[in-house]
């Protein structure tokens, strides 16, 4: 049997990927939008629905960014509500280990696992900065190494809590009056957390809910190799996907783990057309809607840390260099590139070689893995990526809320099924079964 493809649906929103100006673009807040996407993903037998998290509104040049989709509901509340309108779909949410405490995250994720009958997943992120921390008591003072130290101990503590009730602790013996027996006390004593007591939630249907990790640094990859079930990565292309896949899976034996115990699922967008040309034309239009002139300039300013508003997005890149010492102009976007002068030099070289305007360059350099073509071509392509170990599957990011997944489920999923690389029905009830049972 060929390797089976894993599929997740990212609820779009809160960035420039989501094309809000399209007439088919609906609310990114109303519950009905979440319900639509979740029901669609479940109709397509997807492994899970995925929610990202941002804890402060993005700012640019000292003002709240008003050009992209802004605003989102609370992650755990939405997942719990989705458990009411789905029966099999996994429900994955991002929760920061920096701005929460282990007891409450353990409790929330375990509660969702109970309420959904074993479908909960937690994407552990470390949240980048003190800027976000200004909305929280704890503040945001941690360096990256410290954030991962906290994250690692945070997750270990959460797992201890999840394990602290015996599977059969809820006895419910009415005759003899024994409701629960032998609830184990937990004691966690470490550099980050020193906590003890009793957990309030019985052992969950999955026992251990699924853990996802999305950090990309060496620390992040090591953390994932040690303990995560899934990595949500940004390495979706064939080459960088293979490299990332090999790198992470190579780290597993040191932790006594097999390659199959950690699934790599990069983010990917897709555009479907009746013909290949039609799909490429649509994809081009979507990219231009995602990267409007103002957005293109903002992207440059993010690297340059200078006011570039005088530049024409359809003109060439500025001759002036980035200011490497300036405060960043943009807050709230995950920054994957650390050295602005090097980035600028690289971008200049690309622009020169391909003769690109600012806007065209930004379109080029911010591209994620995109599957573009007819439904058949997209299915073939996804299958190829998975069979060649560039990924175990993908987290699909539609560019429209909430109907952006409909065509994929109607047209691509059946072709993956015909190829024998995707389930035709769920074979288990829990997310763990969807992901790991053969």
């Amino acid at each position: 049997m060929p390797k089976q493809v894993k599929l997740a649906a990212h609820f779009p929103g809160v960035n420039n990927t989501t094309v809000w100006s399209d007439p088919h673009s609906g609310s990114q807040i109303d519950f009905s939008s979440f319900e639509h996407l979740a029901r669609t993903a479940e109709r397509g037998k997807f492994d899970f629905l995925f929610l990202a998290e941002g804890l402060r509104l993005r700012e640019h040049a000292g003002k709240i960014l008003d050009s992209d989709v802004v605003g989102r509901p609370n992650t755990t509340t939405v997942l719990a509500a989705l458990s009411a309108v789905t029966t099999r779909l996994g429900l994955a949410g991002t929760l920061s280990s920096t701005f929460n405490e282990p007891y409450e995250v353990a409790r929330q994720v375990a509660s969702i696992d109970h309420l959904s009958g074993g479908r909960a997943a937690w994407n552990v992120v470390t949240s980048p900065d003190a800027w976000t921390g200004r909305n929280f008591r704890r503040g945001g003072f941690l360096k990256r190494e410290d954030r991962y130290r906290r994250a690692e101990e945070f997750l270990a503590t959460v797992r201890e809590l999840w394990d602290s009730w015996a599977p059969d602790a809820v006895v419910g013996d009415k005759e003899n009056g024994v409701f629960a027996r032998g609830i184990e006390r937990f004691v966690h004593s470490g550099p980050q957390f020193d906590i003890r007591g009793e957990f309030t939630v019985p052992r969950t249907p999955q026992g251990q809910p699924i853990v996802i990790q999305a950090g990309d640094s060496d620390e992040g990859r090591e953390f994932a190799a040690k303990t995560a079930d899934v990595i949500f990565s940004r390495h979706g292309s064939l080459e960088s996907g293979k490299e990332f896949f090999a790198d992470v899976k190579r780290r597993l034996p040191a932790y006594g783990r097999e390659p199959g115990e950690l699934l790599i699922m990069p983010a990917a967008t897709f555009v479907l057309g009746d013909t290949e040309e039609d799909a490429h034309e649509q994809a081009r239009e979507i990219r231009y809607q995602q990267v409007r002139p103002a957005t293109a300039i903002q992207f440059l300013e993010q690297v340059w840390s200078r006011d570039l508003s005088a530049y024409d997005a359809d003109g060439p890149l500025p001759e002036i260099d980035p200011d490497p010492d300036a405060e960043p102009l943009t807050w709230g976007r995950v920054r994957h590139e650390k050295d602005p002068l090097a980035v600028a030099a690289k971008w200049r070289a690309i622009a020169e070689e391909k003769k690109l305007s600012i806007r065209e360059l930004v379109i080029e350099v911010t591209a994620r893995q995109q599957f573009v073509g007819t439904a058949r071509q997209v299915a073939e392509s996804i299958d190829e990526y998975v069979q060649s170990d560039a990924a175990d599957g993908f987290v699909l990011v539609p560019h429209l809320t909430p109907g952006g997944l409909d065509a994929f489920v109607d047209d691509v999923v059946p072709r993956l099924q015909e190829r024998g690389v995707f389930r035709t029905d769920y074979t288990g009830d829990t997310l763990r079964e969807h992901l790991f049972s053969r």
Partner: protein, 356 residues
């Protein structure tokens, strides 16, 4: 509408009922207390009777007691979120502990419950006062009662500021200018309190009700600012809370005859004493006579009914007491509005940041 006062009625859905031994006599499977279906079934009973709201208790510690009582529970807000999309009229008022969880998270969670329920969310804000909870978080000492209450008041204040930090209509999707939001309608809350500071704005737009309903127990010093106050000590309550919707807690043990009700109560008391606080033991019809009388003589707006055993006492209450109250003109025939604020007659929530 008759001249009789219209009561407001909330119902507690805790455990298998208010009495510690309820789980032993109820038909409910003990393990069902950890499923959404259990809460949905009881919320549907309350909704069919057009009651104002249901509550669900919570703390960040295990319930005290031994093997013989219900121990363990799911997060109350998430439990109500899991029934929000599949109910349509009933208000959902989970207890939220305000001492350890970040106020920012509380604000967005309650707002999101309001979105998922399309305007039926409330929150019963309760500070934590136990060493056990402190030990579960381990980064602070047990606050004094005064400090815990002061912090609770700060949390209630800031969560409403965060709800208001997006004006209604802030999302404009203005193609010509390329603006998704009108940032003039978003506000930094810049809250600097004694216990924490918060920059804002919220990440979640203003919820459907503007302000989901804030409830507190009557022993909270914050009670004066809350929409709903739940009291156990009925006498003198109105003088203490002149402006709130004042609902008195009342445990109920019902049966078709008074004698049968007394026997049900005795049977429960054979296992454990009845919980402290006001209670009623008798027939559904007598309860229907008693409630308006109690409300009138104490200037109460209604009751927070705590069925001794679920579903038994709730089923009798909704099947018989409520229709008798309706016949007497003391309770609505059906929902007349869509939101919890509508049910409670609270009016539109004013946005503290919006220009008049």
């Amino acid at each position: 509408m008759g001249s009789a006062q219209q009561l407001h009625l909330g119902v507690a859905l805790d455990g298998a009922g208010q009495h510690p031994a309820a789980w032993r006599v109820s038909d409910v499977r003990p393990s069902a207390l950890f499923t959404a279906a259990h809460y949905l079934a009881h919320a549907k009973l309350a909704e069919a009777a057009s009651l104002d709201f249901v509550t669900l208790d919570d703390t960040l510690a295990l319930q005290p007691g031994g093997e013989e009582v219900v121990r363990g529970r799911l997060d109350a807000l998430l439990t109500f979120a899991a029934i929000a999309p599949v109910t349509s009229g009933i208000g959902l008022v989970p207890t939220v502990t305000t001492t350890h969880t970040e106020p920012f998270h509380i604000s967005t969670a309650v707002a999101s419950l309001d979105f998922a329920s399309r305007g039926r969310a409330g929150v019963l804000a309760v500070p934590s006062r136990t060493e056990a909870e402190v030990a579960h978080f381990g980064r602070r000492t047990l606050p004094s009662e005064v400090d815990a209450e002061a912090e609770n008041a700060e949390v209630v204040d800031v969560i409403a500021r965060l709800w208001d930090s997006w004006e209604d209509g802030a999302i404009i999707r203005d193609e010509p200018t390329g603006r998704f939001i009108d940032r003039e309608k978003l506000h930094y809350v810049d809250f600097e309190g004694r216990f924490f500071s918060i920059k804002g704005p919220s990440i979640t737009p203003r919820p459907p009700q503007g302000h989901p309903v804030v409830a507190v127990y009557g022993d909270s010093p914050y009670a004066h600012g809350a929409d709903v106050v739940l009291v156990d000590e009925i006498r003198g309550a109105r003088e203490r809370f002149p402006d709130a919707k004042l609902l008195a807690g009342l445990s109920i043990v019902l049966a078709e005859t008074e004698q049968a009700a007394i026997e049900r109560r005795r049977a429960l008391e054979a296992y454990a004493p009845f919980p402290p606080g006001p209670s009623f033991t008798g027939t559904p019809a007598d309860l229907a006579t008693e409630l308006p009388r109690l409300a009138e003589s104490n200037s109460l707006d209604g009751f927070h009914i705590r069925p001794a055993v679920l579903p038994d006492d709730l089923a009798l209450f909704t099947a018989e007491t409520v229709p008798a109250l309706q016949a007497a003109g003391a309770f609505r025939q059906t929902y007349t509005g869509a939101t919890l604020r509508d049910h409670l007659g609270l009016g539109v929530a004013v946005n503290q940041y919006a220009e008049a």
